[in-house]
């Protein structure tokens, strides 16, 4: 009995606190003073009206020029890459932060962290930031958990995890009102792709490639063939002949292969593998390069195993860095049989 009463009292107090916080949010939404002084300028003028955007959670009415944007899940770094300055973000991994350009890292660090990368968002902290727009990309289970509550705090735009990266970047730019930078990045991307295709057209046409990788989540003694992420860009935009899962099947990258399968890589002309910004094999991939089997592969001994830097594949900035690295890697093939 007493425990039931305690629980009820606890719920009542929690509900009261939540209501108060939501009330404060609603009252402070268009305020001035301290809140607006801290408000990040995302490039637009102060909100003068609203517009509709289509999202995975339906058609959402958002401010025409949002000023206080919170990014949740995978939307943070792409928004920052487009020049956005969110007031709130969710955590990103140390490895992602390490390869971020200086000014983007500063924009990330200036924002308030409102939770982990999934659905464990601190809603009170988020509400206290008085956002006028929330951008979200995470698993649908996380949306089921917190989606409605996010929508009660501010207009919320959701993307599914399967959204194609160019569409994703474009829609984030539109929602966050940072389309000028998107246009510049897009033009640079198209120029780089065209240049690579033109420079290495013959190599691309005559060579079979395989992109291999290993993550820090990979089981000991296993690696995988990457057919999503940066290798998807190499295949679909550049035209590299890379292995791909059959239609309707899971990506090859989801299949952990035991190290003895390294021998099977010898059937490809060129192997690409992940390296860091300094060109060293990434830490999780080092166990592969340390095996005698890898060292004995004809592709490796003949210098046709190429390290490629892929800082990310969700927005144009990191993809442009990837293309630069791929360009450099392909250049080393010149003159090799």
């Amino acid at each position: 009995m007493s425990s039931t009463l305690t629980t009820k009292r606890g719920l009542a107090v929690a509900a009261a606190l939540m209501s108060a916080s939501l009330l404060l949010t609603a009252c402070g939404g268009d305020g001035d003073g301290a809140a607006d002084t801290a408000a990040a300028d995302t490039g637009g003028e102060k909100s003068a009206g609203t517009r509709s955007v289509k999202a995975a959670n339906g058609t959402v009415e958002i401010p025409a020029a949002p000023r206080r944007i919170v990014t949740i899940g995978n939307t943070g770094l792409p928004f920052i890459d487009l020049g956005g300055k969110p007031v709130g973000v969710t955590e990103v991994s140390d490895s992602d932060l390490a390869v971020l350009p200086k000014e983007q890292k500063a924009a990330y660090e200036a924002a308030e962290v409102v939770g982990g990368s999934g659905g464990d968002v601190d809603l009170e902290k988020l509400a206290a930031l008085e956002p006028d727009l929330i951008l979200v990309q995470f698993h649908s289970n996380d949306w089921d958990k917190v989606g409605k509550r996010l929508e009660s705090i501010a207009p919320t735009v959701l993307w599914g995890l399967d959204t194609e990266w160019k569409a994703f970047a474009g829609e984030i730019a539109t929602a966050g009102n940072v389309t000028d930078e998107l246009g510049r990045q897009k033009a640079e991307f198209e120029k780089k792709v065209a240049a690579i295709k033109e420079t290495y057209g013959k190599t691309i046409g005559d060579t079979t490639f395989v992109d291999v990788s290993r993550g820090d989540w990979s089981d000991p003694g296993t690696f995988y063939i990457a057919d999503i992420g940066c290798s998807e860009i190499a295949r679909d935009d550049i035209g590299l002949d890379l292995p791909e899962a059959a239609e309707g099947k899971d990506p090859l990258a989801y299949e952990s292969l035991p190290f003895e399968r390294i021998t099977g890589l010898s059937k490809y002309d060129v192997i690409t593998y992940p390296v860091d910004a300094e060109g060293r094999p990434t830490e999780p991939f080092v166990p592969v390069t340390e095996t005698s089997t890898w060292k004995a592969l004809p592709t490796v001994t003949s210098g046709r195993a190429l390290g490629v830097f892929c800082p990310g594949n969700n927005s144009y900035g990191p993809v442009l860095q990837y293309l630069d690295s791929l360009d450099g890697a392909l250049a080393t093939l010149a003159g090799k049989p």
Binding site: D216, W217, P258, E260, I262, T263, S292, P298
Partner: protein
């Protein structure tokens, strides 16, 4: 056939089966490599990548499987004799829980990611928890097997909860431990074996040294005492050997279940109740079971693999049901 002759013959047969499985383990894998390449890799080495695959991966994996299997079998036989419970295995004394908890702390709190790094934590965790269980299981009249098992189960449950809590708050730790928790000998270089091997050797000597007193202990404490067996000393030595064996095996391969449970029963069916023979059979039969399970795990889901701990669970679960339903589960 007289029992002594049958025992020796059975032991020779077990050795032949084990040798055949060792050969198969080197020959069969997730990639098809011709037997001639395997032969050359072992006896006429060159720098061919396929030969490296044999020498780098299959051979170490087979040796690790041989040692881990033998150790798990011996530790299973030891604990069943010690606690006089035919359904006991090293996990009952909290060995697996202690190892898993220590590895979780190493991975989640200290950021250790490689098997070579956290195996010592697994070993230390097993040792500390077993000593704790031994202390909790000691009554004023001495150590009681029943109280010891209860203490092991309780400590295991508490540590299991703590481990879950850490893993839930740190998904990276959970990811890094996923494979180890399933029980696997994939990707274990021989480097992980050498440091633990001396402990295994000492533990095996200790185990065989107390096999005689454990025979007497099977008759009950009073009769054993009447035969001059020093109960406390026997139990402490057995627990020490058990910890070194099960802790070391868990450190290398993760918690591989059922091997330590099933094999001593088979050994008992063949060799009778003499612990010396049961121990000897377990040392030969357990690696055979582990290697068969590992080979199955390599081929049933090509090109991927199933960890050996999952295969032994599939094989072991029905056997456990049979054991539980038998009126005298191969009577101890």
């Amino acid at each position: 056939m007289p029992r002594p002759r049958r025992r020796v013959l059975g032991l020779v047969l077990a050795l032949v089966v084990l040798t055949a499985l060792l050969t198969l383990s080197v020959m069969i894998g997730s990639t098809a490599i011709a037997p001639s390449v395997v032969w050359h890799a072992l006896f006429d080495p060159s720098a061919h990548p396929d030969q490296f695959a044999i020498r780098d991966f299959r051979l170490p994996r087979t040796i690790v499987g041989l040692v881990v299997g033998a150790v798990l079998g011996l530790s299973g036989a030891l604990i069943q004799a010690l606690v006089r419970n035919p359904l006991a295995d090293p996990g009952v004394l909290g060995v697996h829980a202690g190892s898993s908890f220590a590895v979780t702390v190493a991975v989640g709190v200290l950021g250790v990611r490689e098997a070579r790094g956290y195996m010592w934590f697994a070993f230390a965790g097993a040792l500390v928890v077993t000593l704790l269980v031994l202390a909790l299981g000691s009554t004023r009249k001495g150590s009681s097997p029943v109280v010891m098992v209860l203490a092991g189960v309780c400590v295991g449950a508490v540590l299991g909860g703590a481990r879950e809590a850490i893993q839930l708050t740190d998904p990276d730790a959970f990811d890094a431990m996923r494979y180890w928790n399933a029980g696997s000998i994939t990707g274990r270089p021989l480097d992980v074996l050498w440091p633990v091997l001396p402990f295994f050797a000492v533990a095996a000597v200790l185990a065989f040294a107390v096999s005689g007193p454990l025979n007497a202990l099977a008759l009950g404490d009073e009769l054993a005492r009447a035969q001059g067996v020093r109960l406390a000393r026997t139990r402490v030595i057995a627990v020490l050997a058990l910890t070194l064996l099960a802790g070391g095996a868990t450190a290398i391969a993760g918690p591989v279940g059922f091997i330590g449970l099933m094999v001593p029963h088979v050994a008992r069916w063949i060799a009778g109740p003499d612990q010396r023979w049961i121990f000897a059979y377990s040392v030969l039969l357990a690696p055979s079971l582990l290697l068969v399970s590992d080979i199955l795990g390599r081929v049933v889901m090509r090109p991927g693999e199933i960890p050996v701990g999952i295969v032994t669970a599939f094989v072991g679960a029905p056997v456990l049901v049979v054991l539980v339903r038998r009126r005298k589960a191969s009577g101890l």
